[in-house]
Amino acid sequence: MRRAVFYVVLALAAVVFLYPFLWMAATTFKSPAEVGGLSLLPDQPTLDNYRLMWARAPFGRALLNSMFVATTITFSVLVFGSAAAYALARLSFPGRGILNAVTVAVLLVPAQLTLIPTYTLIVQLGWVDSYAGLIAPFVFNATAILILRQFFMQVPRSLMDSARLDGMGELRILFTVFWPLAKAPLAMVGIFTFMGAWNEVLWPLLVVRDEQLMTLPQLLTVFSLGGGAGPRQLATKLAAAMVLVVPVVAAYTFLQRFFIESMASTGIKG
């Protein structure tokens, strides 16, 4: 009996969280007359909202831009982050303690605080309205370094010793011994980084004005601000939002196993 109550409560909670998302998904397939309703099943399903969205702004290009920017940032964070984490966790060099402390300290500085200095730097470098401007500020991530460092510290020393005796250098040890062992934390860092980069709005709004370089959330924001408030416009905006959210949901579904495993093993709450 208690178990049944427990499941009912859980199901209600799931509905509370899922309903708005499902409503949004359903609305993108509704005709303007149906948009205001709370139903989750369109009477006359249509793809008009998607066609209209595609016609009114370069969402295809924005999707590609977002893919490129988020993937490049994720790849960079994983490569540079794991290299830094490996050095901080497993190599002895002067100043390692200070670098560890600085990495932690970086987490304490709010991103908004560094927004203007970073923007000024990007302007000075001439990277406004460029992929470099969108990507460069995010290629290092202190959180990623700390999560991976924590994992790398647990890898037995004998495994590194063995790899060195087998003839490996440090980079080869990192990528051929540590990476296969660190699938779970790498997946977690990868998903977080990808989601952060994919959803980033503020920074692209600052450094990109060329519509052909805009990322999906940026274009969506611009589109939402100027698109009107009628039912058709609302459904079109929601269609754009769906395009934004689907890749992240797909990636999460694909990597869910690693993600949960990593959460459990690192003790970090999501």
Partner: protein
């Protein structure tokens, strides 16, 4: 294959010196076992030879080549670790061959060496399994396979059997001995297990506090320990020690303590230069004590505290003058605990140590 030389090697970690003035020459094809308690520096010595630790001062040579500052991959050594250190994401075969692939050994040669290692170590059934699908003994055999296929100048074994149960340990001990004899590669083996040390070693190196205490054939180290530390460390159960003094009497030297008085056999008399009245420690191996039929001259009276029957032998714990002595005797009807017993000593096998721990025996080896 090659010889190995350590010349005045020292290793500091911060302000702590863990290895000092370490001098050792290991002949080509020899198996030398480094033995000592935790923190004695034995693993550090192995790691310095492998290039996994830097050397604070001194010189390390493999053959004629000085390797003191060479990186591990340029030293031509292979190491077997306590925790196997297999790559978890690779199958046994890949674990064995990875070092060869990284050295760009031709594929045909890699295949030949892997099948050779699989044959001599009986690895065939688990070559295609990942480490987590293998037992501890199988993992350790894969680790040994990885070492032998490299055909290195020197094998290093860092407590390779410590994680195995007693039965597997015994089996793997035989395999290591057989393997080393078969390939004839120079080997350094670190352990704290005396059975491994005694059975595997061509020569033993006993270490304490980062210093060599004694180097020699296992039987020589056992029967003629250079000092009290070696005497107490080598041998299970450990040697019994009794503090007392030497007195010179008309018919020779006598060892006198609170509990007993022993006239010394002529062939085990300590150095005649030892002054009468000198404070010494008497050492008696448990197997050199026996239950005496009756108390009498030359026997040690005591009370039996505990009798541990191990099968063929029994360990008798006997309290003598506030000290506990252990005697190893053939199993049979034993006195009940708390009974008064008398122990006889094989006077031809006594050991004496000076106050500084050094052996006082004349000839330095057993009679």
């Amino acid at each position: 294959m090659a010889s190995v030389s350590f010349e005045h090697v020292r290793k500091d970690f911060g302000t702590a010196t863990v290895v000092q003035d370490f001098d050792l020459h290991v002949a080509d094809g020899e198996l030398v076992v480094l033995v000592g308690g935790s923190g004695c520096g034995k693993s550090t010595i192995l790691r310095m030879l492998a290039g996994l630790e830097t050397v604070t001062s001194g010189t390390v040579r493999i053959g004629e080549r000085e390797v003191t500052h060479l990186p591990p991959r340029k030293r031509d050594v292979a190491m077997v670790f306590q925790d196997y250190a297999l790559y978890p994401h690779l199958a046994g075969r890949e674990n064995i061959s990875l070092g060869l692939r990284l050295r760009k050994v031709p594929k045909a040669e890699i295949a030949r060496r892997v099948s050779w290692a699989a044959e001599i170590l009986e690895l065939q059934p688990f070559l295609d399994r990942r480490p987590k699908q293998m037992s501890g003994g199988q993992r350790q055999r894969i680790a040994m396979g990885r070492a032998v296929v490299r055909e290195p100048a020197v094998f290093l074994f860092d407590e390779p059997l410590s994680n195995l149960d007693a039965h597997l340990r015994s089996q793997m001990r035989h395999e290591i001995a057989r393997l080393q004899r078969r390939v004839g590669t120079t080997a350094l083996y670190v352990t704290h297990d005396q059975v491994e040390a005694m059975t595997l070693a061509d020569r033993l190196v006993v270490l304490e506090g980062g210093r060599i205490q004694q180097v020699g054939r296992p039987i020589d180290v056992y029967s003629s320990p250079a000092n009290k530390f070696v005497a107490g460390f080598i041998g299970t159960p450990p040697m019994n020690f009794l503090d007392g003094r030497l007195e010179r009497e008309p018919d020779g030297l006598v060892f006198v303590s609170d509990a007993l008085r022993i006239s010394l056999a002529a062939e085990r008399c300590p150095d005649p230069a030892v002054a009468s009245g000198e404070v010494v420690t008497l050492g008696v191996r448990p197997e050199d004590l026996a239950l005496a039929d009756a108390a009498g001259r030359g026997t040690i009276p005591g009370n039996l505290v505990l009798a541990e029957v191990l099968g063929a032998t029994t360990h008798l714990h006997v309290e003598v003058g506030g000290r506990r002595l252990i005697a190893v005797v053939p199993s049979g009807p034993s006195p009940v605990p708390a009974a008064a017993v008398s122990l006889s000593i094989d006077r031809s096998r006594l050991h004496f140590f000076a106050a500084d721990g050094s052996s006082l025996l004349l000839d330095g080896h057993d009679a």
